[in-house]
Amino acid sequence: MYEIRFHGRGGQGTVVASILLAKAFFNAGYYVQTFPLFGVERRGAPVEAYLRLDKEKILVRSNIYKPDYVVVQDAKLLDRVDVTAGLKKGGSILINLKDAPDTMETFSGFRFAFVDANQIAVNNGLGSRTQPIINTAMIGAFARVMEMPHLDIITGAIENEIHVKTDQNVSAARQAYEAVTLFGMLENNCGNP
């Protein structure tokens, strides 16, 4: 079983990203289970969503504490939330980030990846510069990080589920898939890629 944890802020489409990814994996033959960890829903407040994937029916219905993958939709959350909490050694973290961070000590022991989803969203006319809609870009990038499902399955799920600016969302997912920077496993003293 794979366990994935999403971090974002209310209004960023974090829960929708998790649902889209779930539907994509379902179409790829997986049993899926996704749900949000709600605070009371407020725009801007930190939110989490969980996604489990398995070839068999998923029985455990508690929150995810030891994810294999973490997706961070807003880099500013790094100051507020311990996003790597419980992340399995050798697990992967994908962050929406403009540039590689100066230091990556926080991420040693994990596979690190980032993508400038804000810019990709804006380039595709999704949201504004201050409030870009980045979730479709993030799941495109995630498919590259996880090496599944096939990008066409991701874009298929977007086409089925997103009825506003569908082509732009598909394009954002494809561009993010290509644009993601993969660092692979970070050992200790991993200041440089």
Binding site: I19, A22, K23, F26, Y31, V32, Q33, T34, F35, P36, F38, V40, I58, L59, V60, R61, S62, N63, Y65
Partner: protein
Amino acid sequence: MKKVLEGSHAVSEAVRLAKVQVLSAYPITPQTHIVEALSEYCSDGTMNARFLLVESEHSAMAAVIGASSGGARTFTATSSQGLALMHELLHWASAARLPIIMAEVNRALAPGWNIWMDQTDSLAQRDTGWIQLYCEDGQDVFDTTLQAYRLAEAINLPVMVVLDAFFLSHTFEPVDVPDQDLVDRFLPPFSPRIELKTSDPFAMGQMAPPNVYMEMRHDIQKAMEQVPDIFSRVEQEFAAIFGRSYGPVERVHCDDAQVIMVVTGTVASTCRKVISDLRSQGEKVGMLKLRMFRPFPTDLIRENLGSVQKVAVVDRNFSFGASGIFAQEIRAALCNRNGHPPVFGYITGLGGRDVTPEILAEIYWKTKNSALPENESVWVGLNE
């Protein structure tokens, strides 16, 4: 067709396919998504139904009581404070013998203000004369909602379909949503036994003095006593069409079990994994899932738990000054049976606190390693 569906929408889809005619609700988290979808279906013509907008849950129940008295198939949904506000009319619905279906998303009562999972709201309505069915996953929610209409309309009592806040109501997972013609084969149109019409007016719910009231109450109990047989037939017909059945209780690895854990709702799902892991370590542990709470399946409880060494009841609810509510009922069912086992009561997961596999394993080990319960209720997972 199987699709990835939110638990709330598993209810909405079943209500749509049941061709419900009158709906009324007042929105409250975490029930909101259920009636959001249904109000859209009513406004865009997907459902040929009236959605009555009201100013409170009390009025929502009053509205479906009126519609059901008029012979319509009805639905409402609520949670927590909303259910508490309906309390007076819950008694009315059952005593008027109306087959109303309500989805109840378990949510904690305030204060402290809390929108998360807790069973005390629905269990506090245990004496209102409603049949109560507790669901484990999205498919169970869909299937139970459909079954509820057949059961309610056969017995003329209302049914509460109960599902966990968030862990079920907001969880997306694959659910098989059948075509309308299959549902129509299972659930024919409602043919009410009593139908209030303007063309044939009469009075309902008038004075019932001491010479008749007690018999009316006895009749409700006689109807409740018929539920196990009727429900069994409903489930058989459901299984013949859809290939799934659940039962009022479900036994998992009970045959040679020395400890049986009694669970409800989504905790039952997590517990299946825990039981399977403990079994692979050689532990003789089983689980009994309680799906039907009213009428209480006393015979099945005695049959399944009467001669096991120990029973551990997991309650995600609490009756202040007493104990967990499921534990009370299990104790009451077993007490008149000779040589019944000790019943260990555990309180966990109140107000949305997570019930993890580790918590359930801890409950098993505490039970195995104690000869008798240290208290009527042991609270598990409390912060220091």
